[in-house]
């Protein structure tokens, strides 16, 4: 911790040393007057009160000395505050909710206690908040004084604007003495982690439609039923010679006069893996809504839907290695755990799909349905090889291709920028067509996704798989 001397102190010292040197100058003037008088020049005709001014000299010396000692005493006092009081400052941070969804609110409270015997004359305390949060109420800093043994407290309300694991802190403290001569700044490394999950607003909207309509797809109540297997009664029908004898309902047969069998149905249960490419290119996009954020939102929604429809769902976050792997399970607890993992997704590395697929196969040798969300900006051979390995091991992938220009270049009104955007788009579309045609050779669907339809595209892929029993258990 260093003590910085301010401009005010500079002016004070200037006056002090000007006093010293003026006094010395006056002594020199006295000597000069004596010399001039000896050679016959009397300057008192021009400046009559020279002798009066020369009398100032010793007094000026004393006064400058008093100023200098006073400055040194102030400096020592501040040094004591710096070395003794400031290290003993007790700063406590309390975060009301450290796990929230994107868009939700939380509050942070900071308490500062000064247990020492020194007053902190003017202290500015700032709690550093990352860009992923908006301060919607209150302020994250305070400028006040902190008397000896005193305590101050301030709070602020944050809104989580970006998904991820974020750290609040450190706390920056600036102390100034009351005459504004000295200042010191230090950072106290106290941090608090806040985990922000992907937005729940999509899930909430889905919940509303499900509650009001019993589903959001027409015929959902019958769409996913598999006749024959299962334990739920479906209907009575006439007996055919291939039907098992045990299914004959004798009471109904006696009532109707012909042989009738009980038909059951079961749910089509899928095993779906959401594979999200977390390479560095997925980190581009709008400031708080990168391609990866959209991908995680889509992944969260698929996980929610799968949980509601009793399917098994898992998650793979990969780039050059597999960063997170969640084995397919079902249930609400598993859904919340998946959300927590999605919050941790960070863009880094280069996409290595073959490695990720092999990893998945090692842990999940049985067949399943894979939704791959990627911007396909890595080497095309990489993706081809990954797809081939997946297909060879009975994994049925559907690729959701995040169309980068739509995510990275905003719509602009300027003609020149619009032309640039269109040129980039044309080049991108050319590559996209090449990639999708190569993957289509293996029977893999590549669905283009923009910010407007990525959610529905992912849901659509899942619903199609559910209807066709792709990846059924």
């Amino acid at each position: 911790m260093k003590i910085k001397i301010s401009k005010v102190a500079g002016v004070y010292l200037l006056i002090t040393f000007t006093g010293f040197f003026s006094a010395l100058a006056l002594y020199q003037l006295e000597y000069l007057i004596t010399v001039l008088r000896n050679i016959g020049i009397d300057i008192s005709t021009f400046v009559p009160n020279t002798q009066e001014v020369i009398k100032f000299a010793p007094w000026l010396l004393i006064l400058s000395g008093i100023l200098a000692f006073s400055f040194m005493i102030s400096y020592l006092r501040f040094m004591f505050i710096l070395r003794v009081a400031i290290p003993r400052l007790d700063i406590r941070r309390e975060v009301f909710k450290d796990k929230i969804f994107q868009g939700e609110l939380t509050a942070v409270r900071i308490r500062i206690i000064n247990p020492s015997v020194f007053d902190l004359d003017r202290v500015t305390i700032t709690d550093l908040v990352p860009d992923a949060f908006d301060i919607v109420f209150g302020e994250n800093y305070v400028e006040t004084n902190l008397p000896a043994g005193g305590e101050i407290e301030f709070s602020y309300v944050l809104r989580a604007a970006a998904r991820g694991v974020h750290m609040i802190g450190p706390v920056s403290v600036t102390v100034t003495d009351r005459l504004a001569f000295f200042m010191t700044e230090l950072e106290i490394p106290t941090f608090a982690e806040i985990r922000v999950f992907p937005s729940y607003s999509d899930v909430r909207r889905l919940e509303i439609t499900q509650k009001s309509m019993g589903g959001f797809l027409p015929g959902q109540h019958t769409m996913f039923k598999l006749k024959g297997a299962g334990y739920d009664f479906h209907q009575l029908r006439r007996y055919y010679h291939s039907d098992p004898i045990k299914l004959i309902d004798w009471k109904a047969s006696a009532r109707l006069g012909r042989l009738m069998v009980r038909e059951y149905h079961g749910e089509k249960v899928l095993k779906v893996y959401i594979m999200i490419d977390t390479s560095y290119t997925m980190g581009f996009g709008f400031r708080r809504f990168t391609k990866l954020d959209f991908a995680t939102r889509a992944g969260a929604l698929v996980a929610y839907l799968a949980q509601k429809l009793q399917d098994f769902f898992g998650l793979v976050l990969f780039s050059s290695t597999v960063h997170n792997f969640v084995k397919a399970k079902r249930g609400r607890g598993h859904f919340l755990y998946t959300l927590s993992i999605l919050a941790e997704a960070e863009p880094e590395g280069v996409a290595n799909l073959p490695g990720a697929i092999r990893y998945l196969i090692d842990y999940e040798p049985r067949s399943g349905f894979v939704v791959l969300i990627s911007d396909l900006e890595s080497d095309i051979h990489n993706y081809e090889e990954g797809i081939k390995i997946a297909l060879a091991h009975k994994l049925k992938p559907t690729v959701i291709a995040v169309m980068s220009p739509f995510f990275e270049i905003p719509e602009v009104s300027s003609v020149a920028k619009q032309m640039f955007r269109d040129a980039v788009l044309i080049e991108y579309m050319r590559r996209f067509r090449m990639v999708s045609s190569r993957l289509a050779r293996y029977g893999v669907r590549v669905i283009p996704a923009t910010p407007r339809n990525i959610i529905s595209a992912v849901l659509d892929a899942y619903v199609r798989a559910k209807m066709r029993m792709i990846g059924a258990v």
Binding site: V8, L14, I15, L24, V47, P48, V53, K55, P58, W59, L60, L61, I62, L63, G65, I66, F69, M72, I73, L76, M79, F80, R83, Q102, L105, A107, D119, R122, F137, G138, E139, V142, E143, T144, I152, E153, F154, S155, V157, R159, R178, L179, P198, S199, S201, D202, R205, L206, T209, S212, F216, P218, F286, F289, R452, I454, I455, S456, L459, D460
Partner: protein
Amino acid sequence: MQDYARLLRSRKRRMLVKYAIVKSFIGLLLLLYFWYLSSLLNPVIWELAFKFFLLFRNLLIIIAIILVYSLVYTAVVLGKGYYPRDAYYISVGVIASLVGLSKSFVPDPTTFFKSVLGGLDLITLLVSFVSILYVVSIIITLGFIVRGSLSQFMWGIAISLFSIVSLLALGYANLVVYEWPPTSLSEIVNNSIVRIAAFTFFIIEVGGNLAYAAMVMDDYMRKIERISNMLESMLVGKVQSQAKEEIEPIAGEVLKLTPLAQVLLRGYTGIYALEETSEELSSKIMGFIRTEIHRDQKLVRSVLGLGSEPEIKTIFLSILTGLFIKLPLSIFLAYVALVLTTVLGSLFPGVVEIESPAFALFVVVLMLVAIYMLGALLVRRRLS
């Protein structure tokens, strides 16, 4: 929440009253200070300062006349039929009509330039300049009342002391200064420079502390103002959300949805997860605070900044500490430096370096270094 808005307003009013009292006190101190300094000066300096101001004005007029004269001379005299004197009269006439001077102002060029100088000789000119400096120092120091910046005050004091000493040398100040060393206490007490110094130290300590208190109160009032505005805007639903963009909802572009589902999922495929209107965000914040208040009553007070109000009472204690401990200690140390210089001078007679006045400065610097090292040692001892 309305109660909290009222509480903030009352807190601000209370702080404003204290602030006004402190500023008034600072103003009164400075008024007394400059009244005392001005009492040491010859009253004629105000007239001389005004004359210097007029001289400055006249110099500006001359510059304007010269500019116009050069243009008129080119146009009129070179066009033949006119003399340079005519160009001069035209230029002066133009400027006189612009600044509203009467036509009788237009004199002969020689007389004109003499009258512009206001009959000031070189020494009087110097005195008027120093007088203006004194006036400027008053204006600079008055800025201290408004802004509370101690550096402004220091500059003002430095310029005023310089101008007083210069006026004394030129014979326009009445300072009582006794020879060194003083032979009695009255020679110290009645010494004008001692009185000026004492008054200056008093202003620095008291005024500086009060300015600091005013600054702290001002910071707090501004914080209350900001938070109050935030609260008012929240109460009327005007808190702005960031990253809001209007888009056309095209739910069900890929999925086939029932019409009701399309209605319910409007905005479902929205770009931003934070698509909220300002009213929605405001009500969200209000709801959050109401929920959290049940758990923690102090939250709202803390968010509104009511938990960080500055403590002003300790300031008066520090003023007394400064006047009765720091200042006497500084005087004592200066006295010790003086005694040390005298003693060393008597121990080494005939040594020019020790007999020179600069040796006193050397002794002061040595003492400052010794005090600093002592202080550092005490700090280390305390830490260990």
